[in-house]
């Protein structure tokens, strides 16, 4: 459904209708921002990434060939941009706030001990995700946060479904190893 609308909007933009680009932005803004956030774990950086992706989209739209593949194109550009940003700011801690974390976890920070544990777990999780190799991180993020199918992930990453399965298996094994302490604690509970 969205693909058909994308095609229509792209053809309207190529015919000279600038408002079609606004509509395209509104349609894909949440997905692009979510993907950027899931890699960068920083709201401001994710906003910047979304802006960059849409600026690139505006440049690419006049000659955009495969209109049915706009989502994959957006995800690919966003992933590459975020990986690049991560490489540049290596060593910088993520800027996620407690409120955001609580909102995502559905927990309450009124209890101080729970809040401390939550902060520690949050830091460990994002360090573990950030430390994944880029291809494994891409596969994991697209599957875990964006709920994409293996075929869509393969299309976005430009590789085969088998390769995506392998990346995903290595990613989950690495995460399990890096979060072993928390996994064992959760098992005991």
């Amino acid at each position: 459904m969205q693909t058909a609308e994308d095609e229509l909007l792209i053809s309207r933009f190529q015919a000279g209708e600038d408002e079609a680009f606004d509509r395209l932005m509104a349609l894909h803004m949440d997905q692009v921002f979510g993907l950027a956030w899931s890699i960068l774990h920083d709201r401001e950086a994710a906003l910047d990434a979304a802006q960059e992706v849409f600026i690139k989209l505006h440049s690419a739209l006049p000659k955009f060939g495969d209109a049915s593949n706009l989502s994959a194109w957006l995800y690919r550009v966003c992933l590459n941009y975020c990986i690049d940003v991560k490489r540049r700011r290596r060593g910088v801690e993520c800027e996620m706030t407690d409120e955001e974390w609580d909102q995502l976890q559905g927990t309450n920070t009124d209890d101080p001990s729970s809040a401390a544990q939550s902060a520690e777990l949050r830091s460990a999780i994002y360090k573990a995700v950030d430390s994944l190799p880029p291809r494994q991180q891409m596969a994991f993020v697209l599957r875990h946060y964006q709920y994409m199918s293996l075929k869509e992930i393969a299309e976005t990453m430009g590789c085969s479904v088998g390769a995506v399965k392998a990346h995903l298996a290595r990613a989950t094994a690495n995460l399990r190893a890096r979060l072993a302490a928390y996994v064992d604690a959760a098992e005991e509970v």
């Binding site: 949440d30 956030w37 906003l47 293996l150 098992e187």
Partner: protein, 229 residues
């Protein structure tokens, strides 16, 4: 923990439930027989479950901010693009002009030093022999001309340094004209004292007549035709 190789590459997809039914069944059967793999699958599932799969949502303000920032950047880019294209056109024109000029100068230089020999047009100067101007102070004028005296015009007649026999008057003697002897004043025999220099209507002698005696004309106005020199 090490997982058996036959399911190692698909455990991630198994945890997310993305495998085909046959593959799911294969992993499930293997996990039922292999405790190590079963424990690993369970541990990985717990690790994944720790990671929240929700992403924060954009607020309306943030959506507007993204939209406005993107539009502003696009507008700025278009303006810069226009400036760059204008500068590029100017630069291209200048470079093209310089290249054409260099090629032109190079071609001329090449032709000058390495080109075929140039046919040089030389202005041919033809020296004509100009007859020397007669010396007016001392001229040797022929005594005898081929033109009969009667056929000469008055000017030619006046230039003839011949002895003229006129009744009673010797007009000019060039051979005896020296510095010691002043030339006697010339007077025309037909001069009647009225200032008229018109040539007479009488027959004039030819050079062959200088040593001959001729009968004076009857129409001589002076009436001196009977005199002999």
């Amino acid at each position: 923990m090490k997982i058996c190789r036959k399911i190692a590459g698909i455990i991630g997809a198994y945890i997310y439930g993305d495998l085909t039914p046959e593959e799911m069944k294969k992993v499930r059967l293997h996990a039922a027989q292999c405790k190590t793999c079963a424990d690993e699958i369970a541990a990985q599932s717990r690790a994944i479950s720790l990671i929240p799969n929700q992403t924060p949502q954009l607020t309306d303000e943030e959506k507007l901010r993204i939209a406005w920032t993107v539009k502003g950047a696009i507008r700025a880019k278009q303006q810069v693009g226009f400036k760059i294209s204008f500068v590029r056109i100017i630069a291209t024109t200048l470079v093209t002009t310089a290249l054409i000029g260099a090629a032109f100068v190079g071609g001329i230089t090449y032709q000058k030093y390495y080109g075929p020999a140039k046919v040089k047009l030389v202005k041919q100067v033809v020296v004509k022999e100009v007859p020397a101007k007669p010396d007016k102070t001392h001229t040797e004028q022929p005594l005898v001309t081929s033109v009969p005296y009667s056929m000469m015009d008055p000017f030619q007649r006046s230039q003839q340094p011949i002895y003229r026999w006129m009744p009673g008057v010797r007009t000019a003697q060039p051979e005896s004209n020296t510095a010691d002897e002043p030339t006697p004043a010339m007077s025309w025999p037909w001069d009647q004292g009225n200032g008229s220099t018109a040539p007479p209507l009488i027959l004039t002698p030819t050079p062959s007549d200088t040593n001959t005696k001729t009968e004076p004309s009857t129409s001589n106005p002076n009436g001196t035709g009977s005199q002999t020199p």
